[in-house]
Each structure stands twice: as C-alpha cells, then as structure tokens.
C-alpha cells in the first residue's frame, strides 16, 4: 500500500519554495493542542439543538414550544415564525425562476427535506437541549414528495417552492462552434441515452458548528466557526440580518476538513446569531453526524440524457451534444452556480470545438447541494471520460491512443477552448505515458490472463481530469446577468513587529492545506531570512483586516490567490525595509539587499541592520531616526487578471489555472458476486510549480481516497418518501485503511505563465479516480457480457447486476454510421 514513487521536480528551485519544509501546523495538532471551534467555551454559554423535520415535504400547521421552555435549564427557543419577522430571505444567486426561492435560517411555513431545521432549542447542556427539543410539538400536514430530478421537472410533480411556479431553478443552452455541421460531417455517431452521476460528498470528519457571542453595546457578533468561505457567508448573512458586514466578526483557527462542504452553513449561523441576541448569552452549536448527512452540502447529482458524439474515421472526436439535468436538492444555497462551473472544463482535456449542452437544474425533496471537492467540474469530466471509453469500446479504438489523439497537445498551450477558457500549460500525453509506466501498462494483458486463471475478471482504466482553479466570479453573470460579482481576490498582510518578528496574516481558512507552512516558505525567500523566523498566524479573523469579499479556502486557489497576496505584501515589506535601511545608511535603495536576516549594503556587508532594528525604528525607537520611516507593515490584495465573460456567447476565461491529474487503476472482479478489488493504482499530477511537493502529494492522495469512496462505497441514497438511507458512518461507508489499494504517484511541473509563482491551484483532481475505476470495471466486464458503465457509483451489487443483465446498460448505447 505504501509504495509511493515520485518523479523528481522538473523546476529547479532555490531557497525554501520547492522544498519539503516540515509543516508548521503539525506540532500543535499531534499534541492535541489544535483549536477547533468546538474547543472554545464561554462562561454561561447555551448549547443549541436543532429540531428537524421528519418529513421530506409537509406544511407546518403549528409549533408549540411551551413544554420545552418549562423544562429547568432551558434558556430559550427560536422558530421559523420569529425568523421570518427578524430576517429577510437569503439573497438568491439565481435569476428567475430560482430567484423566487424564499430561504430562511429555519423552515418557514413548510419543510422541504428530511432533516431541515424547524426549531432551535438552547439549554445549559447539550443533553438537555436535545431532551427539550423532544418536548416541542410540531404538527405537519404531509405533502407529496419528489426525489428524482427528472420527475421533478414533469408537469404535475409536487412543487417545492410555489413562488417559482415549478421545480426548475435554472435552464440554459450552452453551445459553441458549429455542432450541426460537425455531426453532418461525422463518420460515426455514438449515442448514449442515459448517464448518471451519483450523490455523495466528502464528509469532513469535523462537523459544522459555531460559538456565537453578541455584544449588546456594539451590536456586533463574534462567530467562532469552521465556515470555510467567510467572505461568502457574510455576504449572505448580513443583508438577511439587516446589518452591515462589519457587524459579523468571523473567526476560525483549525478546521477539521472542509472540501467545500463547509461553505453553506450560513442559515445555521444566522439562527445562532438571532439566539445569542435574543437570549443575551453566548450560544454554541455542534452538528451531529446524522444531521450533517441528512441536511448539509451534498454533492451535485447529475443526469446526462440523449448524448451524441460525432467521431471521424480516424478517431478524431469533433462534437458532442447532451442534456444535463442537475439535482440541487431543496434549496439553492450556492446554486445554481453548478450550472456554469462545469463549463470551466466544457471540453475536458480534449480538443472538442463543437459542443452543445442544455443544462437544467431541478429542486427536489432532498438535502441542498453545495460545493464538494471537484464541484460541478468532476461531474462533467466524468461525463467526458465516459464518452472516451464508450466510444473506444463501441468503435474499436485503443483507449490510450484515442486519448492521446484527442488530448489538447502541449504545443497548443496556452490553449483557448471553444468557450474562451484558457488552459495555461500542461503536457497531457506525457502525463499519460508516466501513469502507464507506473501501473505497468505493458503487462496488463499478461495480468489479465493470470487473473483469469484464478477465475477473476481483470480490468484496466484511465481517468483524465482537470482541476480548474482561481475562479473568475464574473461567470456567475452567465447565469444571472444582474449579479455584480466578477474577478477574484485574496488578501495578506506582512509586518515587522517591534523585535523584528515577521508576522503574516492571511484571509484564508485552511482545513489541512498547510497554509502556515507554504506562506512562510514564500515570505522567507523574499526577505532572505530563515523560514523559522516567519510567524504565520493560524486561521482567519476578520478583525485582522486581511480579508476581502472572496476570502476563504475553496475552489483550488491558495497557491495562486493566497500566495499571490503573500508575495505582493512581502515584496512591499521588502521595499519598505530596504528604504529604511537606505535612510539609515544614507545610500540609495538600490544599494541595499536583504540576506541572511539583515538589510545590508551590497558592497559593504558590515553596514547591516538586523530585522530587530528595522522593526524597532517605526514601532518603538522613534526619536533621532528618520523622520518618516516606512511603517514596516504591508497589506496586499491579489486580484487575478480577469474580464467579465461575454454573456451573449457564454464566452470568456472562467478560471486562471488548469492543474491536471491522470489516474489509472487495475481492478479484479469476481464474476460470481460482483465483488471487486483495486489491485493497482497510480496517479500523476501536474499543478505547475510545487511550493512544497510533499504537501502537494498529500492533496493528491486525499483526493484519490475521496474518489475511491465515491466510486465504490459512498452514496446518499433516498427512498421514495425522501428518507436518506445512509445517514451515518455505518450506512455511509467511507474508505478505511483496509480499503486502500497500493498507490504510486508521480508529478510533473508545467509552470503557469499567468500566476505570480508559476503555481496552479490544486487538490481537487480526485475525480480521476471515479473515472478510472468505472473505466476499469467496463474493461473487466468486456469479456462477460460487455456491460456499459453508466453510473459514477458502482458498488458490488451494481457490478453484479451488470454481470447478470448486461443488456440493461448495453441498450443505452447505440452506434450510427
């Protein structure tokens, strides 16, 4: 399992950037001294428990909290009726019809999924709050339920949000090139009637929550939380609460995993704010695991219907068209952004110039979706990889050669896709060769025979995937032209403190991505000091003034936006330090260098000021020194170079960088039972310059594990009544140690020409694992009925069904011409 091989760096590095500098975060975390939100306590705080809906769809006819309030030790309650008076509905990203969704901190009038918070109860202990919630009487009038996005769009389906006039939140046609001409000129057309990407999420081990304090004197809330996108949270919360954003102080330190799933906790945070004010005491909420599974941040489930692919005789794929139906669940907490984000990778890693995709999103009586590692791109890239393998199998092309022929080629970089996105750099064929080497592709047929001799069906699969990073939020205007978001930003401050300490603050909210370490590496190289002299504050605090509207940690961008801000601020501090030294030494700034922990004259190393002296002059030792010393304090906002996309053509650059991963695996299937095992696995990553290769590899490994889980074990399955069948870690099996295959990794570095450090955002390439496992299963089943893999999630029973009834999937595929 631990056979890990890594190709050496291809970019020579001097200094700390590029080195495996040990992680700063580790010492406190291995000693149990991390500070997660749930570790923070306040005198007299009350514990919050949310009473949740047992129905997937029902009218609330009455709520009676009186018995709960009579229980000794209960501090108070909050109901939807109060919320509807005290707050406005959350701002909706969607244009009509989704814009008419009314979403509040608690259910108002109706419940729309099992697990939806209905009443909040606060008590002096968590056990008491839970007991008291059972004394709350809620009467429901059950309504018909719809859990299938396709049925939700049919006439006569139960409607979740009456104001929307139906269950559709967004629909749009995305078309580039000349699709009809490409099909007219095709030698083959392969049609696939139905593909389905299943619902799952990354289930971070730490659950959502917050400690919220209200200061009556200032009208300000302090929210100690693990929300991973505080910039977005306050944009949602402040208008709903009718206060300015500065009234919401967001604080994090350590966060126990996020993966996008901790972006949309704003409804619960608003409920906590209202309770802290109402009860005039700090309130604390920690979500239960069952609550998380039932209600928080599922990944987007998506159907691809009536797909057609135009193929030339030599295997060149010229066009595809399809209808995507996306299942948003019951509310639009970050949606319908998934309706545009897929288009960052519309053509996948391939040279398709003609694409038509009708995207329609439906609301259903299931938990609301929100970003999940690989958000919306993973679903689409799985679709493009399914196309490649199905076309290869149906038309008899070699899967490796078909990929190499259709990949965007290294000589084309930077490459503009048909919809105006720019792939910044990369060498996809070389990466494929590397992964084939790692997995021993040349021995696959021998291994297949050997496995057959043991009665096993061996299959090999490839999954190519892109990790587009650093969003241009202007893409939101392709869904709703009225929105006023565009570009992106992140902030850092760097200062020299009184004793010359280098102090860095970030706007980000890391959840394991090692920002304290990698930021220190960048700062140390610029200031010419040891990395251990750089103190990067842990976490995020909006009182630090080191944040902007897009601050947070999400969507593969820290190495670009976060470190871009760190670099900018540090370069400004370096300029200030040199200027101050030049004032002291009465010389030109150009005569000063920063090296070995000093600001010194290049030609006279004896004329050197230690950082301590530089820090003291503006901070503590003012008299007799230069009258107007630079402050030794710099704040920098990094803004990537973006323009607002063309809304008519749905054309423009939607993300700044494109990392790439190619995964390959070998499976062995038991033809009697459908049980299969991953017997070999390899992943090659290219995310440009790697600031800390070991940390990059850790991200690749983690994303791979998520993909293995999603492909084999993890699914949020519902019954027809809208009950989640996998509401805890018993039923929702995440991979354990014994589930993990042997893994080989390698990395190549194609520096981004567009970013401050040549880096690219990364960490979300794990979808490659979902793609390659499905491809390997399809390959394994070729000799046993030839079933086609049409789902992203393939547990053993589904493989067994494919073995027993290959015709059920085979009839979904047809070749014309």
């Amino acid at each position: 399992m631990t056979t890990v091989e890594t190709e050496g760096t291809t970019t020579l590095q001097k200094g700390f950037v590029g080195q495996n500098v040990p992680r700063r975060e580790d010492r406190r975390l291995v000693q149990g001294e991390g500070v997660y939100f749930d570790d923070v306590k306040r005198h007299g705080m009350g514990y919050v428990h949310f009473l949740r809906s047992p129905y997937a769809h029902a009218r609330i006819t009455s709520i009676d909290v009186s018995a709960a309030l009579e229980l000794p030790g209960v501090y108070g309650t909050l109901t939807g009726d109060e919320v509807a008076i005290l707050t406005d509905p959350f701002f909706q990203i969607a244009a009509e019809p989704g814009a008419s969704v009314k979403d509040f901190a608690l259910a108002v009038g109706k419940v729309r999924y099992v697990g939806e918070p209905v009443v909040a109860v606060v008590a002096e202990t968590r056990e008491l709050a839970r007991d008291a919630s059972e004394l709350v009487m809620v009467d429901y009038d059950p309504l018909d339920v719809v859990v299938d996005a396709r049925k939700a769009l049919e006439d006569g389906a139960p409607v979740l949000h009456e104001d929307c006039g139906g269950n559709m939140s967004y629909t749009g046609v995305w078309e580039w090139g000349d699709v009809d001409a490409a099909f007219a000129e095709a030698d083959h057309v392969v049609s696939i009637s139905e593909l389905h990407f299943d619902r799952f999420n990354s289930t971070p081990l730490e659950l959502d929550g917050a400690l919220v304090e209200y200061n009556r004197g200032t009208g300000q809330w302090t929210i100690t939380t693990n929300n991973q996108f505080p910039g977005f949270a306050v944009i949602m919360m402040a208008p709903a609460m009718r206060v300015g954003t500065d009234k919401l102080r967001m604080v994090t330190q350590d966060i126990g995993g996020g993966f996008g799933n901790k972006i949309t906790s704003h409804p619960q945070l608003v409920a906590l704010c209202l309770l802290a004010r109402k009860l005039n005491r700090p309130v604390q909420w920690t979500e239960w695991r069952t609550d998380f599974h039932q209600s928080m941040s599922h990944g987007n489930e998506r159907w691809f219907l009536d797909t057609e692919v135009a193929v030339k005789a030599d295997g060149t794929m010229t066009a595809f068209r399809t209808k995507a139906i996306d299942d948003a669940g019951a509310y639009l907490r970050y949606e319908p952004l998934g309706g545009v984000i897929w288009s960052q990778v519309a053509a996948g890693m391939y040279g398709w110039r003609n694409i038509r995709l009708e995207f329609t999103q439906a609301m259903t009586n299931k938990a609301p979706v929100s970003p999940n590692r690989g958000y919306s791109r993973m679903q689409h890239l799985w679709f493009t990889e399914r196309i490649i393998d199905i076309v290869a199998h149906e038309l008899g092309f070699d899967r490796v050669e078909l990929r190499k022929k259709n990949y965007v080629q290294p000589g084309q970089m930077p490459y503009e896709t048909p919809n105006g996105c720019v792939y910044d750099s990369g060498d996809y064929p070389r990466a494929l060769d590397l992964v084939l080497d790692l997995i021993g592709y040349d021995t696959i047929e021998q291994r297949r025979e050997e496995a057959a001799s043991r009665g096993k069906l061996l299959g090999f699969g490839i999954g190519s995937t892109l990790d587009s990073g650093t969003n241009n939020f202007g893409q939101s205007q392709l869904l709703n032209p009225e929105l006023q978001f565009s570009g992106n930003n992140e902030v850092a401050t760097v200062k020299l403190d009184i004793f010359g300490e280098v102090v860095v603050t970030l706007g980000t909210t890391p959840q394991g991505q090692s920002h304290e370490t990698t930021a220190a590496q960048v700062v140390a190289d610029i200031l010419g000091c040891d990395v251990d002299l750089v103190h990067v504050r842990a976490g995020h605090d909006s009182y630090w003034n080191s944040h902007a509207g897009f601050s947070g940690t999400y969507a593969s961008q820290f190495a670009v936006t976060g470190l871009g801000a760190v670099k900018g601020a540090t370069e400004e501090l370096a300029r200030q330090m040199k200027t101050l030294a030049s004032m002291v030494f009465q010389c030109s700034v150009d005569d000063i260098e920063l090296a070995d922990g000093f600001a010194r004259m290049k030609e006279n190393a004896e004329a050197a000021l230690p950082f301590m002296a530089l820090g003291a002059i503006p901070n503590a030792n003012n008299a007799g020194f230069p009258v107007d010393p630079p402050p030794m304090n710099a704040r920098f906002v990094y803004r990537p170079p973006f323009e607002v996309p063309d809304k008519e053509r749905k054309f423009g650059n939607l993300t700044l960088t494109y990392s790439m991963q190619i995964h390959a695996c070998v499976v062995e299937v038991d033809p009697e039972t459908g049980v299969y095992e991953l017997v070999d696995y390899a992943a090659v990553d290219d995310c440009g310059v790697r600031v800390n290769p070991k940390i990059v590899e850790g991200q690749v490994m983690g994303a791979t594990a998520h993909a293995i889980g999603a492909a084999m074990f993890e699914v949020f399955a519902y019954d027809d009544e809208g009950n989640l069948l996998t509401p805890n870690f018993y039923d929702y099996h995440v991979p354990h140690t014994l589930d993990m295959p042997p893994l080989k990794t390698a990395a190549i570095e194609s520096p981004s020409p567009f970013t401050p450090l040549g880096t690219k955002g990364m960490g979300e390439g794990g979808g490659g694992g979902i793609h390659c496992i499905g491809a390997a299963l399809q390959d394994a089943l070729r000799s046993s009925g030839g079933a086609v893999v049409t789902s992203s999630h393939n547990p053993y029973h589904r493989v067994w069904e494919m073995l027993r009834h290959p015709e059920r999937s085979r009839e979904k595929v047809e070749v014309k011409g």
Binding site: Q31, N728, F729
Partner: protein
C-alpha cells in the same frame, strides 16, 4: 480493563487522566468523551460521528484503546485514562514525530485518535507490519490523507522503537 456498573443518576466518579486524579459529579448518561472535553477541558480528544464509527475519540482506558464515545463517564470510575495530551511531554514522542515526518496529517482532526490507536498497537507489537498497522487502524477514519502516509508513519515509528 475494569468497567464499573452503570448507575441511572448522577454519580461522583474518580478518574485519573494523564496522571492527574479528578473527582467529579457526572450525570449517569454523560459519555466519557464529553466528560473529557467538557468537564476536564481536554479538547484534544475529538468527536466525528454519533455511531462509534470514526475513532476520533480514541483514548486509552487502563491501557486499552477504546472509543470514548462508546464508554460512559461513570464506567471509567476508578480507571486510568490517557488522552492525546498525555502521550508525551513538551517533546514529541517518536510516533508523533513520525506522523509529522511522513505528512500523516492534514487537518489534524482524526490525528489524536489515530495516535492513540497506533500507540496502543505499538505497545502490543513494537514492530508491526504494514498489514498489521492497517488492521490496527481500521476503526479510525481519516478524510484527508487516504491513510497511505499514516500507515507509513506507524510502520516507521515501529521500526524506530524496535
């Protein structure tokens, strides 16, 4: 491991945690993990589920690795408990250092439980094989690392102490 009888109302318990004896009145239903975190403020022990599945709350109870969400505080009456805070002094133990050296943690949330399970394993088997480590850690969920580096770290720590 001695497990006390289960009472139905509050009871005074005496528990020695990381070498310090504590006497506290606790409700009969309070879980050991909440006793450690809320009553004793030892927040290194974490909670990641409500079904005894994730292992983030693993501690040593009289030297045996247990999930402290599956033990009532009153059942620990008279017992010796070790939490992650009691693993080493200011210096990292070889196992803790090995976790850092092998990048066996990212967010760090599962790490205390992993360390407690792994240290219990190493106490029984000073040089476990990769397979033995995988079996020993199968009750602990990590969502960041994919386990490869964790298994490596424990195997390496074992070799170091052999």
């Amino acid at each position: 491991m001695r497990v006390a009888a289960t009472p139905t109302s509050s009871q005074i318990v005496t528990v020695t945690v990381n070498g310090t004896a504590y006497e506290r009145e606790v409700p009969a239903r309070r879980l050991l993990v909440h006793f450690l975190r809320d009553d004793l403020d030892l927040t290194g022990t974490h909670i990641g589920c409500d079904t005894g599945s994730c292992g983030a709350c693993t501690v040593h109870l009289d030297g045996v690795a247990v999930k402290s969400c599956a033990v009532l505080a009153v059942q620990a009456d008279g017992a010796q408990v070790t939490t992650v805070e009691g693993l080493g002094d200011d210096e990292l133990t070889p196992l803790q250092q090995s976790f850092s050296d092998h990048h066996a943690l990212q967010c760090g949330y599962c790490t205390p439980g992993m360390l407690m399970s792994a240290s219990a394993l190493l106490a029984e088997n000073a040089s476990p094989t990769e397979e033995e480590v995988k079996v020993g850690l199968q009750g602990n969920i990590c969502r960041c690392t994919g386990y490869w580096n964790i298994v490596e770290a424990v195997v390496a720590a074992g070799k170091g102490s052999a």
